[in-house]
Structures are given as structure tokens and as C-alpha cells.
Subunit: 413 residues, 2 copies
């Protein structure tokens, strides 16, 4: 079955807010096995809303419309949906009482005249009580189609959807959709796609889709079946094949595990501690490691040594090395990693030294040159990268490569 | 003139990513004085894309389509747009050379076969060079309508749009739109809006719009006039009024200056050095400061002291203080800032200690508790925050508040 999402609000069209409801509802609908082919954002304008609702109803089974249920005259979603579905508005006693109750418990002494409009509901609609506001959610059914109206504020929309709309939608569904995310690091998107082009070409059920992330590629494998067990069974051989083809390039097959979480998990499993010695990334690597809940078990401290003096004083990098090879060199990356591990008394140390620009590039050391070293068990592996892009992109890529180098060094043991 | 935004990507329809490009482009189009009545998200499906493009072209002057320009076979945006605009694809030598060059400078030794597809461009289209990827932007003009195709990754889309599409759109406009961005830190959006509600109510030309960012509020003041000079003249008294009302809460009135850049600029102006001592943010504060080009003039090193032992060993925080007050306390924040400044021999030190969760909260110290201290000229100012949200949000807010505290401490001198 198909669902279409419509977001009503001038504040989205003007870019005043990021439409986070979009990602929330899209993910939940996918989880419910509903196919969503379109999302539309439209302003609080009756004519354009009618057009949008009619188009959405013509091509989808369910239309979820968010926003525009407020008390002011420019909130038109309910009125317009009632018109399109030909279900005239009438006062709902239950909702009227809830509004009175809401205001009795609030800081406002009188109920603004505007709010009574929120007690009007389309005749025959299901009313979904809103625990966190005065606008109820509404389900309008007609001729095999449903319009579901939800308030825009996420703290009202999320509980309403989760507790009341999801069970409603689940009941209407014949099939279950189930997907696995295979996450890779240290490979480009087109390179990854090349390696599975045969699988992508012949895909039917399950399907494969690749997503490029900074320094990562995610492959979503999605199956449809009568139930979750059957869907899982369809997925299994495809995920196994991906594991065979990509090997250690895969850092997880779990949807919600990030690269830093996979690294922290690996360190914890091997009972290892890590520290960081950063120059151009200035703390971003440690910052990402510490993103992972439970990072305190593996990282106790980290060093940001942006100046040559700090590299020498804090990490013990040789003054001679700095002078002979310059700070952006594999030798310095090596000594930073070795010195960091010793200073912190940690099992591993990852170091990053590079030139993120925009200025300071030379012919020998152009902007984007980055050396990454990982010191582990008495030896260090050093990698040389030439990144493209602006300062932020160079630094972000360096961090991902460093996390991946650490991961691979441990796995190689 | 009207613009319509189309976002192509199954990852948006499946809720894998939040569509931040939507807010970015919507804001920029509003800034350009373009009316935007619709945004649509559609998947990588030719038939549905054709439908969406045709509908958008039928009702808007410009259609900006983002995403689906990648090298894989499921990237169909360019092919579909070329079909709809009846501009057949042909190889573009210039783009082909750029792709070769991109790969020559990259870590990949061979150019994947897929990538050659990116050198195909619709006949007669303007090619917009992409500095951060292999997919160029494209402008397709026909019968008074324009389709503008942009790559989906924000680090490619944003510079492409800002540097090449904005000037193009500006040229098509009868009036000049000129705006100033007044950026505030340390104030909430509704608080800021309250302070200028009279200005917002009576706005005609210039107009005011507030944008909530993480720990910041941006107010865009936009004027329309026959030329830039006249527009600037209209802006001036409004910007002066904002300066009068918000004072030091304003950190810049320059569009492209970030909070960290404003802070680094201020430090450089006063010839001061800074260091950082971070616990729960684990390097993100230093990482943000070092975002600012030229940061090496003011920050030489930074400390990540995640464990109590590291706080004691590296920063000299008293073991007694840690035991008596716990690591998440104003006393420890104070000693971290003081100890950091001394260890680095820096003029200022900003410290952050807090509980970012998700676990470990207690009744006295709930998740979200953060202490931030700034040591400067022999004394330290400590602030206590109780942030809401997940681990990442708490850490991001802490970093912004720390940057702002540093800024205000210096300004107060």
C-alpha cells in the first residue's frame, strides 16, 4: 500500500525550519512496509492545498498531512481536507471538553476565541486525542482512501503518530517490509557499486540501494514478504554475499551503529584503550570517538597539538624531525602516534597531521595533504591522503579515515 | 518570479536522512526574492520524476532539482531532466577532463567505469563546475523556464549554489534584493522574536525573518530596491535598531562569518591565545575553533580529559575536588579552566564538563547537566546549563555556549 506525506507550512517553504518531521514519518512509514513515492511541502493557501491533496489522493492510499491545525485563521488544513473529502465540519463535544481542560491546566486564564475552531471536526472522522496540545489528530476515510491530519510541532506529532496512527496503519497492511543496512568504510560509492553491479541489475526482492556518506558507503537491502520471518529469510543470502565480497570493509550490518560506535565496540571487545594526537583536525577525531556512548571505557584523554611546539612538548616529537620533514609528513605522524600512546599509556594512538587550508599550500605539500598514523603494539602504520574540498571536508574525511585505520589495525592483529 | 524545489532520493523518502538541503535552498531562494510555493521529494524513478518535473515546470519559472546525479545506474536526474527539457545528452570534454583530474588527485588509482556517465551533459546546458565532487551542476533553459540540477551532498550543493546559481538567479530578477544577516548567540528564538515583535508586525520593506540555529538565532533583514545602493540605504536604519536592541548578543552582521570565526577574530584582534579543556565534548570545542582559518595564531594546543585521572594528571584538578563535588560540577569546571590555561601558558582557557548521557544520570546530576568555565586574566566565570535532547544535541549546545562565553568574557574586559 502507498502513503504520501504532505507538509503544510510557510515556515518550511521559507527555510525558517528544517523539516525533521519528514525524516521521522518517512522512516516510520518504511518500517510499516508502506511505499512512499512522494513528499510535498505546500504553504497555508487553500487553492494550492486543494490541488496538492487531490493529487496525493489520486495516487496514494493514505495521505498524511502535517501542520496547519493551529487556532489562527491562516491554519487551513482541517477546513481544506474536510472540503476535499466532502465531510463537513461540526462541533465535537469530546474535543471541546479537552480544550477546556487543557486551558484549565495551563497558565492562560481565558480560552482565546480562536481556539474554539479546534473543536470543529469533519463529520465521521476519527478523533485522535493530542496529549501535548489543543489540536487533535484526525483520520478521514472515504472510498478506500484515508487522510490523516497531524499537528506540526514534533512533540505533538511524534507521540500522536507512534501511539495512535501506527497501530491504525499496521492494521491496513497485507505485507511486511524488512531491511538491513550494510555499512562500509574505506571504499568509494562508485567502486562499491561496481563490485555489486550484477546484484543491483538483477534485483527484484530483496532490492539493494547504495548511499554515499562522508568516507562511507551504506548499502540498504530491503525485502518484502508476508511476515518478518519470511522477509528475514529473503535477506540472509544477499547480506552473506555482500559480506563475502566486501570483507573487512564492512564495519557493521546494524542500522543504528555508527563507525565510531563500531570502533569503540571493537576496542572494548579486545579490552584496548586508545588515545588521539591531532593537529589539523583539532579534536574532531576524539570528539567523534566520544560520540559513542560508553567511550569512557576505552578513551581517557586526547591531545590537540596544533603548533610544532605542542607536538614536541606534549607528544615528544623530535625537533629535528619537525625541522627536517615539516609538521605535515609521515615521520611526524609516526612520532605523534608513538608519543601519544606513551604519554597516555594507551594501547593504541591515532594521529592526524595535515594541511586543511585554505592557505599555506605549496607544491610539495598542497592543501588537502594529510598523514594519518596508528600506533599499536610497538609499531605504527602511516597513511598518506590527498583530500579535495574545503577545510571542513578535508578535516571530516581525515577523521573517518583515521577511525577506519584504527579499526583495520586492530582487526589485522 | 517563482521557484520550485524538487529533491530526488529514496534515502529521503525512506527517512534515512533529514533533508537539510530543503531548508538551505528555501532560505536562499527567499533571500533572492523568489516566491516558492511547493517543495517535492520524489524517488529515483523515471516515470514519477517526469511527472514531478512536468508539474513543477507548469507552475514555476525555475525548478531546482537536487540529488540523483551520482555515477550509479539508479541516478536518473540528469537523464530524466534532459528528456523532459528535450535536450539530448552528449559528452562534455571539459567535464571529462575534470573527472580525470579529480581521480588523478585522489587516492583511487583507476576511474570506475560508472563515473564516465557523469561527463554526459544535456546539449546546450550550462555546466557548473563542482569543486568537491565529480558531478557538475547543470542549468537547462527552454521556453522561458529553467531547470537547475544540483548534486545532493550538502558539501557539494552549498558552494555550487552560493557561488554559481545565486548570481545566475539574481540576474533574472527585475529588482535587486539585498539582505544582511544579524547573528545572535546566547538568546532563544522566541525571546529574540519578542524583542522585535513591533518591527516584525509593521514590516514591509525591509522585511525581517528569524531563523533558529543550534544555540544561535539569525535575523535576516531583506530589502528590495532598484539597485544595491538603494537597498543598502533601506537596510541601514533597521540593522542599527537591531544593534541597539541586542547589543553584545550580536556576534556578527556578516552573512558568512560563523561564531567560531567571530571568536578567533576577536582573539586575534586582542592578541590573545586560548586553550581548551574538554570532558564530555571530547575535542569538539577545539575542533570548532580550529574550523576557523587562521586559528593557528590563537590556539596552539588543547586537552581532552575524559577520565578523572586525566583531569588530575594533565590539568592539575584536585583529587579532593573531584571526590567531593564529582567531575560534573562548577568547581571542577573552574579547576579545569585554570589548570588548562596554566598548562598551555595561554591567556584564556575554556573548559566543559558534563553528562551527555544517555546513561549515568542521577537525581542530583541528570543527563544534560553541563558546566562551562572560562578562565581569563586570573579569574574564571562558570556557567551551569541543563540541556535537553540526545547525546549529540547536548554536546553541540555545550560547544556553542562555550564559544559564546569565551566571546563575552573577552568583550567584558
Amino acid at each position: 500500500m502507498t502513503v504520501e506525506l504532505v507538509f503544510i507550512g510557510t515556515e518550511i517553504l521559507l527555510g525558517n525550519i528544517v523539516n525533521t518531521n519528514g525524516a521521522f514519518l518517512a522512516e516510520k512509514c518504511a518500517e510499516l512496509g508502506l511505499s512512499c513515492y512522494y513528499q510535498t511541502v505546500v504553504g497555508d493557501n487553500e487553492e494550492r492545498m486543494i490541488q496538492t491533496f487531490q493529487l496525493a489522493l489520486s495516487r496514494s492510499d493514505f495521505v498524511i498531512a502535517c501542520g496547519g491545525l493551529g487556532p489562527t485563521p491562516d491554519d487551513l488544513t482541517k477546513e481544506t481536507a474536510a472540503k476535499v473529502m466532502q465531510m463537513p465540519l461540526q462541533e465535537d463535544n469530546h474535543t471541546k471538553k479537552r480544550i477546556e481542560e487543557y486551558f484549565r491546566n495551563s497558565q492562560w486564564k481565558t480560552i482565546p476565541e480562536n481556539n474554539w475552531k479546534q473543536a470543529q471536526v469533519p463529520k465521521g472522522a476519527f478523533v485522535l486525542d493530542n496529549e501535548n496540545g489543543t489540536a487533535p489528530g484526525l483520520i478521514l476515510e472515504k472510498k478506500g482512501k484515508s487522510m490523516i491530519l497531524l499537528p506540526g510541532p514534533p512533540n505533538e506529532l511524534i507521540p500522536l503518530f507512534t501511539k495512535q496512527v501506527m497501530p491504525y496503519l499496521q492494521k491496513q497492511q497485507p505485507e511486511v517490509i524488512y531491511s538491513k543496512m550494510v555499512k562500509l568504510s574505506g571504499i568509494g560509492e562508485s567502486q562499491a557499486a561496481d563490485q555489486i553491479s550484477d546484484l543491483i541489475e538483477k534485483q527484484t526482492n530483496p532490492t539493494l540501494a547504495t548511499y554515499a556518506k562522508t568516507g562511507e558507503v551504506h548499502i540498504r537491502v530491503t525485502a518484502r514478504a508476508k511476515n518478518k520471518k519470511a522477509a528475514k529469510k529473503l535477506l540472509k543470502p544477499v547480506v552473506s554475499e555482500l559480506k563475502k565480497r566486501f570483507g573487512d570493509t564492512i564495519y557493521t550490518t546494524k542500522e543504528d551503529i555508527t563507525l565510531e560506535e563500531a570502533v569503540v565496540k571493537l576496542l572494548r571487545k579486545r579490552d584496548l584503550t586508545v588515545t588521539t594526537a591531532e593537529s589539523c583536525t583539532g579534536g574532531l577525531l576524539a570528539g567523534r570517538l566520544i560520540n559513542a556512548a560508553g567511550a569512557s571505557k576505552v578513551i581517557r584523554q586526547g591531545y590537540i597539538t596544533y603548533s610544532n611546539k605542542a607536538k614536541h612538548t606534549i607528544l615528544g616529537v623530535n625537533k629535528g624531525t619537525l625541522k627536517q620533514y615539516s609538521a605535515v609528513s609521515d615521520q611526524v605522524a609516526y612520532e605523534m602516534a608513538e608519543g601519544g600512546a606513551k604519554a597516555a599509556n594507551a594501547d593504541c594512538c591515532v594521529s592526524i597531521t595535515g594541511l586543511a587550508g585554505p592557505d599555506g599550500g605549496t607544491e610539495e605539500i598542497p592543501v588537502g595533504t594529510v598523514y594519518i598514523a596508528c600506533y599499536f603494539q610497538g609499531k605504527a602504520k602511516v597513511e598518506h591522503y590527498q583530500f579535495k574540498g574545503n577545510r571542513q571536508k578535508i578535516r571530516d574525511y581525515a577523521v573517518v579515515r583515521a577511525l577506519n585505520l584504527l579499526r583495520l589495525c586492530i582487526l589485522e592483529e
